[in-house]
Amino acid sequence: MAGLQFKDPWQEQRLFLSRVIAAAILVLLLSGVLVTRLVQLQILDHERFTELSQGNRFRIDPLPPTRGIIYDRNGIVIAENRPNWELVATAEQIDNLDRTLRSLEALGLVDPAEHDELRKLIRSHRGFERVKLTNLTEEQAATFAVRRHLFSGVDIQEALSRYYPFGDTAAHAIGYVSSISETDLERIDRSNYAGTSHIGKTGIERAYEDRLHGQVGYRQIEVNAQGRVVAGGARGAGDTGEFESKSPSPGENLVLSLDMKLQIAAQEALGDFRGAVVAIDPRNGDVLALVSTPSFDPNRFAAGMTRRDYVSLNTDPDKPLFNRALAGTYPPGSTVKPFIALTALQHEAVAPEHEIYCPGEWRLPGQTHRYREGRGGVHGNVGLHEAIVRSCDVYFYQLAVAMGIDNLSSGLTAFGFGAPTGLDISGEQSGIVPSPEWKKRNFSRREDQVWFPGETVITGIGQGYVLVTPIQLASAGATFAARGARFAPRLLLGTENTVTGEMTLLEPHALPSIEDHTAEHWQFVSDAMVGVTSETGGTALAQMKGLEFHVAGKTGTAQVITIGQDEKYREEDIEETQRDHGLFLAFAPAEAPRIALGIVVENGGGGARAAAPVARKVLDAFFAAENYVASEP
């Protein structure tokens, strides 16, 4: 047989037939198994399953865990849970969903504009699940309570809802919780959120959702034919042999690095301006304050707002939902000068004592374009120290050209510009530190990829392509204050186990430190920054008068529009939204820094005028709270 190479149809047919018969027998056997299983379920265990299905209908109620509380660094509560009434629906017990919803709308309990959305929400849950429709006021709860018998499947229940006692203060840092959306369902374990109606959407509430939420529990409860509870609590495990109850385990409490007193002071200091303040402890990266104005009240999200309210919040031209502190990118203006000076000293592009004459403008050799002083001043003879104190652009134009764009941009990158700082909540923008490589990567047309010498010139004063976020400014200031020791800014200091009360403190997140600069150079530039706030001609002298300690600072003014070669910047001629942004970078006390600030005041009209006063108020609040006494040098 092994030697045969031709097909034998009859033999093959016989083989095939035997296989088909074997298969048919197997099919019948498997069918027999199936029928046996069905007989077992439908005949032998029929009564038990009927009881489970019909007689004593039971329901598994999820027991939502209590969300963790959020504290500031001094133990002040900034997010908690408060009892309130909510309207809930259980789909399987509602005869006609549309009619029920319309009746609730007629009573003023449910917003008719959300009819379709609620319908969808209820449909998206399992029939036995209780779905929260809305929060009720005391009055509404009373209105419903007397009519409860008319609504099968709808009920009121007391529940905990998220409450932010400080309202719009620190809203961008803490974030908010809001109803779980379809998109949220994609990224969570649905069964763990079976009894939870809200989820962290932004800020800390989102970043630490896992820790805050906790683990769901459940209990089995008996209900009668109408779905009303007849015997609360768990049935014994021996009763049906199916389920047990399990208590929920609450979420962890969080302790943040924020100092709410400082936060409030910073928010008040910004007043009605759009802008941002970030305060960081240079010794560990703790974010002491993180303000973005205008702000919003997160309680409105937690309570649930109407579509119209949300749209008006979202389309407000001042963009209150936008977190300027992390995602606002601004030309840094002269606030980059300390970093550029330090880098220039490192590369020996300049000697500290080197003086130039500043006539108020400068040209690149062989070119006609005039690079002017920001405010048209003439500084005369200035060295590097005076150039920082008085913010001389002409000096830094030449410094930038002398050190070259590659050194300049790597110097800025080392301080964390051009990349997210690594703050532990999401939403950070990278900003831009331009360089010839950056242009190659980010422009598609060849002629746009060329780096022009003039672009080096204006990068030297923080204009042109360079963009920074307020938190980058503060973080770079903190790195400077710590003489190169870098930390990723952090909002979370530690967590508290709600059951055992045990506190877990997190280690600061240290980054590789900057080792490129000598102690003399650090000191030289730091002294110049102190000069900004303390020497005659210093750009922030007036704003920092009368402090008992030294503040190292640097003002910055970012142009929003380009002023023509022979035009003059005249504020009264310019639309409010076209006016210059004011920036300020500072750390204090200069000798042993404990706070670094990054401040942006949008359209405030300049760093000295708009941003430095904000810094002063924040520093006053910080050191008043610390009862700071200046140590004699």
């Binding site: 045969l4 190479q5 031709f6 097909k7 034998d8 093959e12 047919q13 083989l15 095939f16 037939l17 296989r19 088909v20 298969a23 048919a24 099919v27 019948l28 498997l30 069918s31 198994v33 199936l34 029928v35 299983r37 069905l38 007989v39 379920l41 439908q42 005949i43 265990d45 029929h46 038990r48 399953f49 009927t50 489970l52 299905s53 019909q54 598994i60 999820p62 789909a91 399987e92 399992r126 029939g127 036995f128 994609e186 374990d189 649905r190 069964s191 079976a194 769901v216 459940y218 199916e242 389920f243």
Partner: protein, 376 residues
């Protein structure tokens, strides 16, 4: 065999003219198909809480399926054989395409958006894999040699691995079943079968490491559904309650509280068998089972009467694979097998599988209708 006497597939010309057989309709197949789909629509009506929209869509799918049946029935088996490799490689190409470009539906890359309809290329492979195996063995001597077996293993496992990656373990296993059955019918020796079966068992731990977490969770849940009553165990618990409460005669059409009140998940698709069991009881389910067995029996009869290797293997494999679909779905819904997401053929709401199954039976009709009657 009683079905053999139901030889109604006489066309108008009755096969008298050589080369032209007229319109091929295999009446026994068609009648059973109509009976199953009709019964399925009755159950579906209840499962979707008497909403007619889904029912109309299901009827339209059946209409498209009938079209596929009639088209396939007119194509003589040797033409089917000619375009088999094209169809197979087209299927592989489409699988590769969805892996890269496919739309993400339900978190898995399975769907191909054709603009008007979405289409699952893995469904095409359910037909193409047994066809390709039959095509490969057609000119060769049965039973297959070991190298030939290896080639067929490659034919089966290449698309199966692509489908596992989607990830769609259920469909992948069905594709493997389709190819494997073809190989078994080709006459692989019993000894080799045992060895390969042992290898298969040994491969299970390897497969386990390739499985996604949700698939592992399903297996755990299958072993102990009560461990997770709010999550994955919920489906199987509710499904068993639905089946069990149906009893011998069922609770009556549209009366199933498990399905009507929304306890039962996926009741119009994967779990429709439980709806049927609750409302029509053991008797109703047995009726459906008998109809399925009749279909499989007719298919095996056609296979036994087929006149060449390709037709024979294809007819046998398609019929037996169909039974595997039925058994896997009924088994998972009744808690015999883990939940792998396999619809109940011809009954569950769903487009592509209806069309491919009807096309498959169209091929059976063609194999039977295009026999050369000279020998008889």
């Amino acid at each position: 065999m009683s079905l053999a006497s139901l030889e109604w597939s006489r066309s108008a010309t009755g096969g008298r003219k050589r080369g032209f057989r007229g319109f091929v309709v295999d009446m026994p197949l068609l009648l059973i198909l109509f009976a199953i789909v009709g019964l399925g629509m009755v159950v579906l009506y209840s499962a979707v809480s008497a909403e007619s929209g889904l029912l109309v869509r299901q009827a339209m799918r059946f209409a498209v399926g009938l079209g596929a049946f009639f088209v396939m029935a007119q194509i003589p088996p040797h033409y089917l054989r000619l375009f088999t490799p094209w169809m197979y490689f087209l299927g592989i190409g489409l699988l590769l395409f969805v892996a890269v470009e496919g739309q993400i539906g339900k978190g898995a890359q399975r769907w191909l958006d054709l603009g008007v309809v979405t289409f699952q290329p893995s469904e095409l492979l359910k037909l193409a894999v047994p066809m390709m195996c039959a095509w490969f063995m057609h000119e060769r001597r049965l039973p297959p040699t070991f190298p030939q077996l290896m080639v067929m293993a490659l034919i089966v496992l290449t698309p199966a691995l692509l489908i596992v990656e989607q990830p769609d373990l259920g469909t992948a296993l069905l594709v493997i079943a389709g190819g494997g059955i073809t190989i078994l019918l080709a006459g692989i020796s019993v000894r080799l079968m045992v060895v390969l079966g042992g290898l298969g068992l040994a491969a299970l731990p390897v497969l386990w490491t390739f499985m996604h977490d949700y698939q592992k969770a399903r297996v755990f849940t299958f072993l102990n559904p009560e461990s997770d009553p709010l999550g994955t165990g919920y489906n199987i618990i509710q499904s068993k309650i639905a089946i069990g409460s149906g009893g011998l005669f069922g609770v009556g059409w549209l009366n199933g509280s498990q399905s009507d009140l929304g306890f039962l998940p996926e009741r119009s698709t994967d779990f429709i068998f439980a709806v049927m069991a609750e409302e029509f009881g053991l008797l109703g389910v047995c009726l459906l089972l008998v109809l399925y067995l009749a279909l499989v029996g007719r298919g095996l009869y056609i296979a036994s009467q087929a006149q060449d290797t390709f037709s024979r293997l294809l007819a046998g494999a398609l019929s037996l694979t169909f039974f595997v679909y039925v058994f896997v779905n009924a088994g998972m819904v009744s808690g015999l097998l883990p939940i792998v997401g396999v619809p109940l053929p011809l009954v569950s709401a769903g487009g592509t599988s209806m069309v491919t199954i009807m096309a498959g039976f169209g091929m059976l009709a063609s194999i039977h209708g295009h026999r050369k009657l000279l020998a008889a």
